[in-house]
Symmetry: C2
Subunit: 168 residues, 2 copies
Protein backbone atom coordinates (compact mmCIF):
# COMPACT_ATOMS: atom_id res chain seq x y z
CA UNK A 1 0.00 0.00 0.00
CA UNK A 2 1.31 3.45 -0.82
CA UNK A 3 1.22 6.03 1.91
CA UNK A 4 -0.06 9.09 0.03
CA UNK A 5 -3.70 8.38 0.82
CA UNK A 6 -2.84 8.01 4.48
CA UNK A 7 -0.76 11.19 4.54
CA UNK A 8 -3.50 13.23 2.89
CA UNK A 9 -6.16 11.75 5.16
CA UNK A 10 -4.04 12.62 8.16
CA UNK A 11 -3.83 16.17 6.83
CA UNK A 12 -7.62 16.29 6.65
CA UNK A 13 -7.82 15.13 10.26
CA UNK A 14 -5.41 17.84 11.45
CA UNK A 15 -7.29 20.47 9.45
CA UNK A 16 -10.56 19.34 11.01
CA UNK A 17 -9.14 19.58 14.53
CA UNK A 18 -7.75 23.04 13.77
CA UNK A 19 -11.21 24.08 12.67
CA UNK A 20 -12.70 22.70 15.88
CA UNK A 21 -10.16 24.06 18.35
CA UNK A 22 -8.66 27.50 18.47
CA UNK A 23 -5.71 26.73 20.74
CA UNK A 24 -2.80 24.78 19.27
CA UNK A 25 -2.37 23.13 22.63
CA UNK A 26 -5.86 21.64 22.35
CA UNK A 27 -5.20 20.31 18.87
CA UNK A 28 -1.92 18.78 20.08
CA UNK A 29 -3.74 17.18 22.99
CA UNK A 30 -6.45 15.70 20.78
CA UNK A 31 -3.92 14.36 18.29
CA UNK A 32 -1.99 12.77 21.13
CA UNK A 33 -5.14 11.27 22.60
CA UNK A 34 -6.31 9.89 19.24
CA UNK A 35 -2.84 8.49 18.69
CA UNK A 36 -2.94 6.88 22.10
CA UNK A 37 -6.20 5.11 21.27
CA UNK A 38 -4.70 3.97 17.99
CA UNK A 39 -1.49 2.74 19.65
CA UNK A 40 -3.48 0.72 22.15
CA UNK A 41 -5.03 -1.21 19.26
CA UNK A 42 -2.09 -1.17 16.90
CA UNK A 43 0.27 -2.87 19.33
CA UNK A 44 -1.51 -6.20 18.94
CA UNK A 45 -1.15 -6.02 15.19
CA UNK A 46 2.50 -5.13 15.65
CA UNK A 47 3.28 -7.98 18.03
CA UNK A 48 1.50 -10.46 15.78
CA UNK A 49 3.32 -9.39 12.63
CA UNK A 50 6.74 -8.81 14.06
CA UNK A 51 6.76 -11.97 16.21
CA UNK A 52 8.64 -10.03 18.85
CA UNK A 53 8.25 -11.64 22.22
CA UNK A 54 10.18 -9.55 24.64
CA UNK A 55 12.54 -6.60 24.87
CA UNK A 56 15.41 -6.96 27.30
CA UNK A 57 16.19 -3.30 27.66
CA UNK A 58 14.88 0.17 26.94
CA UNK A 59 17.61 0.37 24.37
CA UNK A 60 16.30 -2.66 22.53
CA UNK A 61 12.73 -1.33 22.79
CA UNK A 62 13.69 2.00 21.23
CA UNK A 63 15.55 0.16 18.48
CA UNK A 64 12.54 -2.00 17.70
CA UNK A 65 10.24 1.03 17.55
CA UNK A 66 12.58 2.71 15.06
CA UNK A 67 13.74 -0.21 12.96
CA UNK A 68 10.68 -2.42 12.90
CA UNK A 69 7.57 -0.43 13.86
CA UNK A 70 8.35 2.79 11.96
CA UNK A 71 9.49 0.75 9.00
CA UNK A 72 6.33 -1.34 9.06
CA UNK A 73 3.80 1.45 9.45
CA UNK A 74 5.46 4.49 7.91
CA UNK A 75 8.14 3.04 5.67
CA UNK A 76 10.98 4.95 7.32
CA UNK A 77 13.71 4.08 9.83
CA UNK A 78 14.58 6.88 12.24
CA UNK A 79 17.97 6.78 13.91
CA UNK A 80 17.99 6.19 17.65
CA UNK A 81 20.01 8.24 20.10
CA UNK A 82 20.23 7.41 23.77
CA UNK A 83 20.20 10.91 25.10
CA UNK A 84 20.96 10.52 28.77
CA UNK A 85 23.24 8.43 30.92
CA UNK A 86 20.20 7.37 32.92
CA UNK A 87 19.45 5.04 30.05
CA UNK A 88 15.74 5.72 29.93
CA UNK A 89 15.67 8.66 27.51
CA UNK A 90 15.86 8.18 23.79
CA UNK A 91 15.42 10.23 20.69
CA UNK A 92 14.10 9.02 17.37
CA UNK A 93 15.55 11.24 14.69
CA UNK A 94 13.57 11.37 11.46
CA UNK A 95 15.46 12.67 8.45
CA UNK A 96 12.21 12.61 6.61
CA UNK A 97 8.75 12.65 8.14
CA UNK A 98 6.28 11.09 5.71
CA UNK A 99 3.31 12.65 7.52
CA UNK A 100 4.35 16.07 6.24
CA UNK A 101 5.00 14.95 2.65
CA UNK A 102 2.40 17.36 1.35
CA UNK A 103 2.87 20.06 3.98
CA UNK A 104 5.10 23.03 3.26
CA UNK A 105 4.44 25.07 6.37
CA UNK A 106 2.32 25.02 9.47
CA UNK A 107 -1.09 26.61 8.89
CA UNK A 108 -1.10 30.39 9.43
CA UNK A 109 -1.39 31.34 13.09
CA UNK A 110 -0.62 27.79 14.20
CA UNK A 111 2.99 28.15 15.23
CA UNK A 112 2.63 25.93 18.29
CA UNK A 113 0.91 23.10 16.45
CA UNK A 114 2.65 19.73 16.76
CA UNK A 115 1.41 18.61 13.37
CA UNK A 116 2.50 14.99 13.70
CA UNK A 117 1.60 14.65 17.37
CA UNK A 118 -0.52 11.59 16.61
CA UNK A 119 2.73 9.65 16.32
CA UNK A 120 3.69 10.47 19.91
CA UNK A 121 0.31 9.24 21.09
CA UNK A 122 0.61 6.04 19.07
CA UNK A 123 4.00 5.24 20.60
CA UNK A 124 2.77 6.12 24.08
CA UNK A 125 -0.38 3.99 23.74
CA UNK A 126 1.48 1.01 22.32
CA UNK A 127 4.16 1.16 25.03
CA UNK A 128 1.60 1.45 27.79
CA UNK A 129 -0.11 -1.71 26.58
CA UNK A 130 3.10 -3.65 27.07
CA UNK A 131 3.59 -2.15 30.51
CA UNK A 132 6.18 0.38 29.53
CA UNK A 133 4.65 3.74 30.43
CA UNK A 134 6.52 6.53 28.71
CA UNK A 135 6.44 10.21 28.07
CA UNK A 136 6.60 10.83 24.32
CA UNK A 137 6.83 14.21 22.65
CA UNK A 138 8.37 16.18 19.85
CA UNK A 139 11.70 17.75 20.72
CA UNK A 140 12.35 19.31 17.32
CA UNK A 141 10.25 19.58 14.21
CA UNK A 142 11.42 20.58 10.75
CA UNK A 143 8.03 22.24 10.26
CA UNK A 144 9.02 24.58 13.07
CA UNK A 145 12.46 25.27 11.70
CA UNK A 146 14.30 22.40 13.43
CA UNK A 147 17.25 20.83 11.64
CA UNK A 148 15.59 17.44 11.91
CA UNK A 149 12.41 16.02 13.32
CA UNK A 150 13.06 14.44 16.69
CA UNK A 151 10.71 12.50 18.93
CA UNK A 152 11.76 12.07 22.55
CA UNK A 153 10.78 8.95 24.47
CA UNK A 154 11.32 8.88 28.23
CA UNK A 155 10.57 5.55 29.83
CA UNK A 156 8.98 6.29 33.18
CA UNK A 157 10.16 3.31 35.19
CA UNK A 158 13.66 2.33 36.07
CA UNK A 159 14.71 -0.93 34.46
CA UNK A 160 14.80 -2.52 37.92
CA UNK A 161 11.11 -1.88 38.32
CA UNK A 162 10.27 -4.03 35.36
CA UNK A 163 10.24 -7.19 37.40
CA UNK A 164 7.38 -5.74 39.43
CA UNK A 165 5.25 -5.03 36.46
CA UNK A 166 1.68 -6.14 36.55
CA UNK A 167 0.21 -8.65 34.20
CA UNK A 168 -2.78 -7.03 32.66
CA UNK B 1 3.73 0.33 4.30
CA UNK B 2 1.08 -1.57 6.17
CA UNK B 3 -2.40 -0.14 6.22
CA UNK B 4 -3.39 -0.62 9.87
CA UNK B 5 -2.17 2.80 10.94
CA UNK B 6 -4.12 4.38 8.11
CA UNK B 7 -7.28 2.44 8.89
CA UNK B 8 -7.16 3.37 12.57
CA UNK B 9 -6.40 7.00 11.78
CA UNK B 10 -9.36 7.04 9.42
CA UNK B 11 -11.50 5.67 12.25
CA UNK B 12 -10.33 8.54 14.45
CA UNK B 13 -11.30 11.01 11.75
CA UNK B 14 -14.80 9.56 11.42
CA UNK B 15 -15.22 9.52 15.20
CA UNK B 16 -14.17 13.17 15.35
CA UNK B 17 -16.68 14.16 12.68
CA UNK B 18 -19.42 12.22 14.48
CA UNK B 19 -18.59 14.16 17.62
CA UNK B 20 -18.79 17.45 15.71
CA UNK B 21 -21.95 16.79 13.74
CA UNK B 22 -25.17 15.31 14.95
CA UNK B 23 -26.69 14.46 11.58
CA UNK B 24 -25.25 11.49 9.69
CA UNK B 25 -25.90 13.39 6.50
CA UNK B 26 -23.52 16.12 7.62
CA UNK B 27 -20.79 13.64 8.48
CA UNK B 28 -21.26 11.97 5.09
CA UNK B 29 -21.02 15.35 3.40
CA UNK B 30 -17.83 16.29 5.23
CA UNK B 31 -16.21 12.94 4.50
CA UNK B 32 -17.09 13.33 0.85
CA UNK B 33 -15.73 16.88 0.79
CA UNK B 34 -12.49 15.90 2.52
CA UNK B 35 -12.14 13.00 0.13
CA UNK B 36 -12.69 15.34 -2.78
CA UNK B 37 -9.86 17.60 -1.62
CA UNK B 38 -7.65 14.54 -1.21
CA UNK B 39 -8.55 13.16 -4.65
CA UNK B 40 -7.72 16.49 -6.27
CA UNK B 41 -4.17 16.18 -4.93
CA UNK B 42 -3.82 12.40 -5.11
CA UNK B 43 -4.52 12.23 -8.83
CA UNK B 44 -1.14 13.77 -9.67
CA UNK B 45 0.62 11.18 -7.59
CA UNK B 46 -1.44 8.50 -9.27
CA UNK B 47 -0.72 9.65 -12.81
CA UNK B 48 2.99 9.97 -12.05
CA UNK B 49 3.28 6.50 -10.53
CA UNK B 50 1.02 4.61 -12.85
CA UNK B 51 2.33 6.26 -16.04
CA UNK B 52 -1.18 6.18 -17.40
CA UNK B 53 -1.63 8.71 -20.15
CA UNK B 54 -5.16 8.43 -21.33
CA UNK B 55 -8.30 6.37 -20.93
CA UNK B 56 -10.16 5.65 -24.12
CA UNK B 57 -13.50 4.84 -22.53
CA UNK B 58 -15.45 5.03 -19.29
CA UNK B 59 -15.05 1.31 -19.14
CA UNK B 60 -11.28 1.56 -19.20
CA UNK B 61 -11.38 4.37 -16.63
CA UNK B 62 -13.45 2.29 -14.22
CA UNK B 63 -11.09 -0.63 -14.73
CA UNK B 64 -8.05 1.50 -13.97
CA UNK B 65 -9.66 2.87 -10.79
CA UNK B 66 -10.35 -0.66 -9.59
CA UNK B 67 -7.28 -2.53 -10.76
CA UNK B 68 -4.56 0.09 -10.42
CA UNK B 69 -5.71 2.89 -8.10
CA UNK B 70 -7.45 0.76 -5.46
CA UNK B 71 -4.60 -1.71 -5.57
CA UNK B 72 -2.02 1.04 -5.18
CA UNK B 73 -3.67 2.96 -2.36
CA UNK B 74 -5.73 0.37 -0.51
CA UNK B 75 -4.20 -2.93 -1.53
CA UNK B 76 -7.46 -4.37 -2.87
CA UNK B 77 -8.96 -4.89 -6.30
CA UNK B 78 -12.72 -4.41 -6.48
CA UNK B 79 -14.56 -6.04 -9.34
CA UNK B 80 -16.12 -3.73 -11.89
CA UNK B 81 -19.65 -4.04 -13.15
CA UNK B 82 -21.05 -1.91 -15.92
CA UNK B 83 -24.50 -1.47 -14.56
CA UNK B 84 -26.40 0.21 -17.34
CA UNK B 85 -26.61 -0.04 -21.08
CA UNK B 86 -25.94 3.67 -21.26
CA UNK B 87 -22.31 2.79 -20.59
CA UNK B 88 -21.65 5.57 -18.11
CA UNK B 89 -22.67 3.82 -14.88
CA UNK B 90 -20.33 1.45 -13.11
CA UNK B 91 -20.15 -0.32 -9.82
CA UNK B 92 -17.00 -1.17 -7.91
CA UNK B 93 -17.76 -4.20 -5.78
CA UNK B 94 -15.52 -4.62 -2.74
CA UNK B 95 -15.51 -8.08 -1.22
CA UNK B 96 -13.47 -6.66 1.56
CA UNK B 97 -13.27 -3.01 2.55
CA UNK B 98 -9.99 -2.36 4.35
CA UNK B 99 -11.27 0.90 5.85
CA UNK B 100 -13.60 -1.08 8.10
CA UNK B 101 -10.99 -3.66 9.18
CA UNK B 102 -11.38 -2.67 12.80
CA UNK B 103 -15.06 -1.75 12.66
CA UNK B 104 -17.70 -4.26 13.68
CA UNK B 105 -20.77 -2.07 13.46
CA UNK B 106 -21.74 1.48 12.78
CA UNK B 107 -21.65 3.63 15.92
CA UNK B 108 -24.90 3.54 17.91
CA UNK B 109 -27.53 5.91 16.51
CA UNK B 110 -25.56 6.37 13.30
CA UNK B 111 -27.49 4.11 10.99
CA UNK B 112 -27.29 6.50 8.03
CA UNK B 113 -23.56 7.04 8.29
CA UNK B 114 -21.60 6.23 5.13
CA UNK B 115 -18.53 5.28 7.09
CA UNK B 116 -16.19 5.04 4.11
CA UNK B 117 -17.63 8.02 2.26
CA UNK B 118 -14.16 9.56 1.98
CA UNK B 119 -13.47 7.04 -0.80
CA UNK B 120 -16.34 8.39 -2.90
CA UNK B 121 -15.00 11.89 -2.50
CA UNK B 122 -11.47 10.80 -3.44
CA UNK B 123 -12.71 9.16 -6.64
CA UNK B 124 -14.91 12.14 -7.47
CA UNK B 125 -12.09 14.64 -6.88
CA UNK B 126 -9.54 12.66 -8.86
CA UNK B 127 -11.92 12.18 -11.79
CA UNK B 128 -12.86 15.84 -11.84
CA UNK B 129 -9.21 16.82 -12.14
CA UNK B 130 -8.93 14.80 -15.32
CA UNK B 131 -12.10 16.35 -16.68
CA UNK B 132 -14.33 13.41 -15.97
CA UNK B 133 -16.99 14.79 -13.62
CA UNK B 134 -18.84 11.96 -11.95
CA UNK B 135 -21.36 11.23 -9.30
CA UNK B 136 -19.88 8.75 -6.83
CA UNK B 137 -21.71 7.16 -3.93
CA UNK B 138 -22.22 4.03 -1.91
CA UNK B 139 -24.93 1.77 -3.26
CA UNK B 140 -24.52 -0.98 -0.70
CA UNK B 141 -22.43 -1.25 2.43
CA UNK B 142 -21.70 -4.39 4.43
CA UNK B 143 -21.72 -2.23 7.55
CA UNK B 144 -25.37 -1.54 6.79
CA UNK B 145 -26.21 -5.16 6.14
CA UNK B 146 -25.46 -5.23 2.41
CA UNK B 147 -24.16 -8.46 0.91
CA UNK B 148 -21.15 -6.61 -0.42
CA UNK B 149 -19.82 -3.08 -0.38
CA UNK B 150 -20.60 -1.37 -3.66
CA UNK B 151 -19.55 2.05 -4.88
CA UNK B 152 -21.49 3.46 -7.82
CA UNK B 153 -19.77 5.76 -10.31
CA UNK B 154 -21.90 7.64 -12.83
CA UNK B 155 -19.92 9.58 -15.38
CA UNK B 156 -21.79 12.80 -16.03
CA UNK B 157 -20.85 13.44 -19.62
CA UNK B 158 -21.61 11.41 -22.65
CA UNK B 159 -18.51 9.95 -24.25
CA UNK B 160 -19.10 12.20 -27.25
CA UNK B 161 -18.58 15.26 -25.07
CA UNK B 162 -15.05 14.25 -24.24
CA UNK B 163 -13.63 15.83 -27.33
CA UNK B 164 -14.87 19.20 -26.08
CA UNK B 165 -13.15 18.98 -22.76
CA UNK B 166 -11.16 21.93 -21.58
CA UNK B 167 -7.45 21.87 -21.00
CA UNK B 168 -6.93 23.14 -17.49
Amino acid sequence: MSRELFVLTYGALVAQLCKDHEADEDVNKYLDQMGYNIGVRLVEDFLARSSIKKCRSYNETADIIAKIAFKMYLGITPSVICSKESGNEFSLVLDKNPLVDFVEDLPVGRSSLCYSNLLCGVIRGALEMINLPADVQFIQDRLKGGDVTEIGITFLRKTDDKKHRRNK
